[in-house]
């Protein structure tokens, strides 16, 4: 009897204590009138010191505001953001990469920044107009550039020399011919990143469009489209194009190029720092950089926007204004060796790198050239679904499961279905 009474009493006491603690917490007045901003970044925790400086500076300007910073790894961010939105507590400021913002903007989840930019024309003038326009949906701007990138062509000068190739290719046919010359044994001629439409310049340089101008129908199933895909499939089959181009994501294709066994890589500028970190052979004498033939490139930048659910959008805008100013973008550029889309600080970085690190300067220089020739950046609210409808059919063709014509026909039906939904 006693042995039972004691634990029961103990459990009851614990229960009472828990209830008392909850009541106390509920009764405590909220921390006065202190406002709070939350700021979510995507896979950039290495800049923690900089973000702490941002927060300290903002706190100096707005003593009544606390800023909380959170960073999430690549695939975690969308899941995290979605759950926060559903819970009614979205981060006030969000950083997204690629086309993810489009879905949020089209769903009404992001604050339209156009009136803010109209009110502060100096803010608009800070940025490279072509990059700023990347975050326009139905004519409205939803994000500001955080750090920018687009695809370029990296090439292994040693392999070029061995194959007696004088310089980077100027056309699609030349690209494939050069790739073939370099493929031998374990060596392959070309590889591309394939996520977020980063391979699309290969089609665009041949005049193939994904969609009709009104974005309502597929437009790629043309004789030229079939010809391009067929050429890519043949080149993949004969080893000119490394198969990892169509199956890997980031580490695998960049790693393959870093191994020194691949002649050319179509990738965006962050790939350079990854490759250089892995490949001791990389220097200005061995690595060349150029625009892809025709100058076409797919942007894959990071932007900063404000969640519609933010309780303090005005303050969030003040925060965005501050962190995209020349002072702060210069610090980000200098520490992370990235371009930010802020014209003044990008120029400063390129000038500095020109002296300290000419190869990195050459890579980043490509990012501010031909910015009027961006492709693979259609303002589609369901971009991810179109991608998912299209790309597996491309894989079917390039990896030899279907003839190019059949693959494009099937892809067209799938893409049209998604567009029609």
């Amino acid at each position: 009897m006693h042995t039972l009474r004691r634990p029961l009493r103990f459990a009851a006491q614990i229960g009472l204590l828990a209830v008392a603690a909850i009541l106390l917490a509920l009764a405590t007045p909220a921390a006065a009138e202190q406002k709070k901003l939350s700021f979510l970044t995507w896979n950039i925790s290495d800049q923690a010191d900089l973000f702490k400086e941002w927060i300290a500076e903002f706190k100096k300007r707005h003593p009544d505001v606390d800023v909380e910073w959170l960073d999430k790894k690549g695939p975690e961010l969308p899941a995290f953001y979605q759950t926060q939105v559903i819970a009614g507590t979205p981060p006030d400021i969000i950083n997204t990469q690629g086309a993810l913002w489009l879905e949020y903007a089209a769903g009404g989840g992001l604050v339209d920044l156009t009136p803010y930019l109209d009110k502060d024309p100096d803010v608009r003038k800070r940025f490279n107009a072509d990059y700023l326009a990347q975050w326009k949906y139905k004519g409205r701007n939803y994000m500001l550039p955080f750090y920018i990138s687009k695809t370029l062509l990296f090439y292994n000068k040693t392999m070029f020399k061995e194959a007696a190739i004088s310089g980077p290719p100027q056309s699609f046919d030349e690209l494939l011919a050069d790739a073939k010359k370099m493929s031998k044994g374990e060596k392959t001629g070309f590889i591309t990143l394939n996520f977020d439409w980063l391979y699309w310049p290969l089609f665009r340089m041949n005049g193939v469009d994904l969609l009709t101008p009104d974005l309502r129908k597929a437009a790629f199933d043309t004789p030229k489209g079939v010809q391009v895909l067929d050429a890519l499939a043949k080149a993949t089959n004969d080893g000119s194009i490394n198969k990892i181009a169509w199956t890997g994501r980031w580490v695998e294709p960049n790693g393959a190029f870093a191994s020194g066994n691949v002649g050319m890589l179509l990738a965006h500028s962050p790939a350079f720092f990854f490759i250089r970190g892995q490949a001791p052979w990389v220097n200005a004498d061995t690595l060349g950089v150029a625009q892809a033939p025709g100058g076409w490139a797919t942007p894959n930048s990071h932007g900063l926007g404000i969640s519609k659910g933010s309780k303090h959008p005005e303050l969030a805008w003040e925060f965005l204004k501050m962190v995209t100013s020349e002072d702060w973008t210069s610090k980000l550029s200098e520490r992370r060796k990235v371009l930010t889309g802020n014209i003044a600080s990008d120029k400063k970085l390129l000038d500095q790198l020109g002296k300290d690190d000419p190869l990195a300067a050459a890579v980043l220089q490509t990012q501010v050239e031909d910015t009027n020739k961006l492709t693979g950046n259609w303002p589609l609210a369901n971009d991810a679904r179109v991608k998912e409808a299209f790309y597996p059919e491309i894989q079917n063709a390039v990896l030899g499961r279907k003839p190019a014509a059949q693959a494009l026909k099937d892809a067209e039906a799938k893409v049209d279905r998604v567009l029609g939904q």
């Binding site: 029961l8 969308p78 879905e103 198969k243 199956t247 994501r249 991810a384 597996p392 990896l399």
Partner: protein
């Protein structure tokens, strides 16, 4: 004597309410201690499950209120080739469980004998299991590599192939390649389950059978297998469950590709929810997976005689 008889019913009557009271207190205490676990189970298992089922009948966007669309997602699923591919691939994953169990049984029988160094063999076989699945995926991905992979190196060195095989880029080989890695990883776990079962079989049964002249094969089929049945079915049920929840290995090795050839339901659910932002459709896929999993687990348990995992002591 008479007085004692008179007193006894009164005493029993007095003890009865006390025993009832004690019983009630015991029950109350059990519930008090169970309550935190049940609350967690309710909060993190049953409610999400119910919400998920509800979501599968709704059109849901994170930015807009949900609307009821009935069976639309299920109709879409019926016409969705990726769903069917991933379902079939999941069933292949499931079918790989018996292969792993048979291999594990063979290994268990070997390391259950008196061979020298049996503890070392057990450790070696078991070592694959505690490895992080992501690490296993990365290791196997490199082993399968077309240019620098171990398998291609061996096959070429032995003169068995002229051209390297792109295991993970191949439409035919991607799924079997992932399955092989999966079987390799879980083999050690199956072995431990079966070894525990084998060691619970009383030796005197074998001795008696040997005296009666039963061959080794007959001993195996008439003693070992029947008495090992609960362990075998436990391994089978766990195999089914892991095949339905395998995610990391597929995601790391092939990301479900090429062209969904190694997609399984779990990776497709993830992609639908977090890459395509179709949480509602992912919820419908999850319901289908849940129903399949429950059905197969129930069937497995029924086939085990309703006591999968029970340890028989003879």
């Amino acid at each position: 004597m008479a007085s004692a008889l008179d007193v006894a019913p009164a005493s029993r009557a007095a003890r009865a309410p006390r025993a009832g009271f004690r019983r009630r207190r015991e029950i109350l205490l059990v519930w008090v201690f169970l309550l935190p676990s049940l609350a967690v189970f309710l909060l993190y298992r049953l409610l999400p499950l119910a919400w998920n089922a509800m979501l599968s009948f709704q059109q849901f966007s994170i930015f807009a209120p949900p609307s009821w669309i009935g069976l639309d997602h299920y109709r879409e699923m019926a016409d969705d080739p990726v769903f069917w591919t991933s379902l079939v691939n999941t069933l292949w994953f499931m079918a790989s469980a018996p292969v792993g169990i048979v291999l594990a049984l063979a290994i268990s029988l070997m390391v259950n004998t008196g061979i020298r160094g049996r503890d070392v063999y057990r450790t070696i076989v078991f070592l694959s299991y505690p490895l992080m699945t992501v690490a296993v995926g990365i290791i196997w991905r490199w082993m399968y590599d077309e240019k620098v992979g171990l398998f291609n190196f061996i096959l070429r060195s032995l003169g068995l192939i002229d051209k390297p095989i792109p295991f993970l880029q191949s439409f035919e080989l991607a799924l079997p390649s992932v399955l092989l890695a999966n079987v390799w990883q879980i083999l050690g776990f199956y072995m431990i389950i079966l070894l525990a079962g084998l060691q619970n079989i009383p030796q005197n049964l074998y001795e008696a059978a040997a005296i009666d002249g039963a061959s080794r094969w007959r001993q195996f089929t008439r003693i070992t297998l029947p008495l090992l049945r609960p362990s075998l079915f436990l391994a089978f049920v766990i195999g089914i469950m892991t095949s339905f929840t395998s995610f990391d290995l597929v995601y790391v090795m092939t990301q479900g590709g090429p062209s969904h050839r190694s997609e399984i339901l779990m990776t497709y659910i993830y992609k639908a929810a977090f890459e395509l932002s179709r949480i509602d459709y992912a919820a419908a896929l999850t319901v289908v997976q849940f129903v399949l999993l429950v059905t197969l687990t129930w069937l497995g348990n029924r086939l085990a005689g309703g006591d999968a995992g029970a340890v028989r002591t003879g």
